[in-house]
Amino acid sequence: MNWFRFASPASFYPLAGRLAPWFGGGAAGFAAAGLYIGLIAAPTDATQGDAYRIIFVHVATAWMSMFIYLVMAFWCAVSLMFNARLAAMMAQALAPTGALFTALALVTGALWGKPTWGTYWAWDARMTSELILLFLYFGYMALRQAIDEPRRADRASAVLALVGAINVPIIYFSVKWWNTLHQEASVSLTSAPTMAAVMLTGMLLLALAAWFYSIAIALTRVRAIILERERHAGWVGEAALAVRGVR
């Protein structure tokens, strides 16, 4: 089987349509199981009480926020190297989901910080670099939106995403360095007590749910992008007629 067949938007469009519901269903299943373990099965924490349960969602969103940026940068590299339209469309489809998870990670982190640290915002190394990651997502999306010509938007935003991807680890370590110098270890996430197996299971299930959700949403969004950008192609008209039941 020749996988490069699916590098063409026309043949990827129906494939994405068939795959998206499966990933969506998987996301719902994993989320239900993970939330059951996180909210009901897992015991109340001895020191943090029930507030710690936010961490089940928080870890999944924080993990996805960084992972999606790397996946996006990967598709951007593919689109630049092979001049592949579909890869650029995938990157475009992933950006809003990545920004959403980054924002959710910040919000859940703040909500967890209030009862635990007594403050919503602590200029913690992780929170700060997560905020800068959100700015990187916004920059990518804003640059895309500012350029009218789709192919130029593809390539310019790809260059930006790659420069950003090289910078993300540098930003993370510089913020970490800055944080350890300025803050005399008043709050520390790393010194948390060792995790119970049931908590780890819940976290992993919710991370899988976030992962499947991202794939399902990206596939659905890329279908919309394909239709929008390929609207002059003959097959799009045929697909539209097929949806309406006109042969």
Partner: protein, 236 residues
């Protein structure tokens, strides 16, 4: 090299270094013909720094603590303010397109343009910084490290900013450049301001200055390539 190579518009034999040297001379000459514009950029730096004590009050201890961060953030903003002039006029009158078509490698020409841009807009900030640092009550050692840090850091700002300036060529949204470039400036800000803080707390600034130097070397290698790719995308 031909005799005409030193003249504006003279065409040296193709080559990355010769192209870069030509671009440095050309852009510096153009920059020096608009001294007023350069002066305004430097004044912006001075004024932003001057506004801070007016905002937070004249308490010497507070100003001394804020000084390094204020001077560095102002340098970031002044550097950002100068970025559009790096490519905009050459893009508007077609010079950039001719550069891309010329037999000189484009990253070489771009490197030359960035170098000239830093000499015209970055170096004055470095030179003015000890004077402004005095206003914030910084000691001699701190002033030296502040200037050294800016000397290593501002070229990195120009290099990273060149990528953003090239990506936004011809776009109407002027604030977009700030959104693209400022997050990338974060490590330079942290290590630059951190170097001065380290001197004050008696730790020595060798680590921060080394990291600024490492960042500069990395940007020197990578940024001209990315900026050249972005210029090609913009003129396509």
């Amino acid at each position: 090299m031909t005799a005409a190579a030193g003249e504006l518009g003279g065409i040296p034999a193709p080559g990355a270094w010769r192209g870069a040297a030509w671009a440095v001379r050309r852009d510096l000459r153009l920059a020096l013909r608009s001294k007023a514009e350069l002066g305004v950029q430097l004044l912006f730096y001075v004024i932003v720094v001057t506004l801070i004590p007016l905002g937070v009050g004249p308490d010497p201890a507070l100003l001394r603590a804020l000084g390094p961060g204020v001077l560095w953030v102002a340098a970031l903003l002044a550097s950002l303010l100068a970025l559009p002039r790096l490519f905009a006029t050459d893009f508007a009158d077609g010079t950039l397109e001719q550069m891309a078509l010329s037999p000189h490698p484009l990253p070489g020409l771009i490197s030359g343009k960035i170098a000239a841009h830093w000499l015209a807009t970055g170096l004055p900030l470095v030179a003015a910084s000890p004077l402004l640092g005095l206003q914030f009550g910084l000691g001699d050692d701190e002033l030296v490290v502040l200037a050294l840090g800016l000397l290593l850091g501002t070229p990195t700002l120009s290099l990273l900013g060149a990528v953003g300036a090239a990506l936004t060529l011809g776009l109407r949204n002027g604030a977009l450049l700030a959104l693209l470039v400022l997050p990338l400036y974060v490590p330079v800000l942290i290590f630059g301001a951190g170097a001065v803080d380290a001197v004050r707390t008696g730790m020595g600034a060798a680590a921060e200055l080394s990291l600024l130097g490492a960042g500069l070397l990395t940007a020197l290698v990578g940024a001209p390539l990315a900026a050249a790719a972005a210029v090609r995308i913009a003129i396509d």
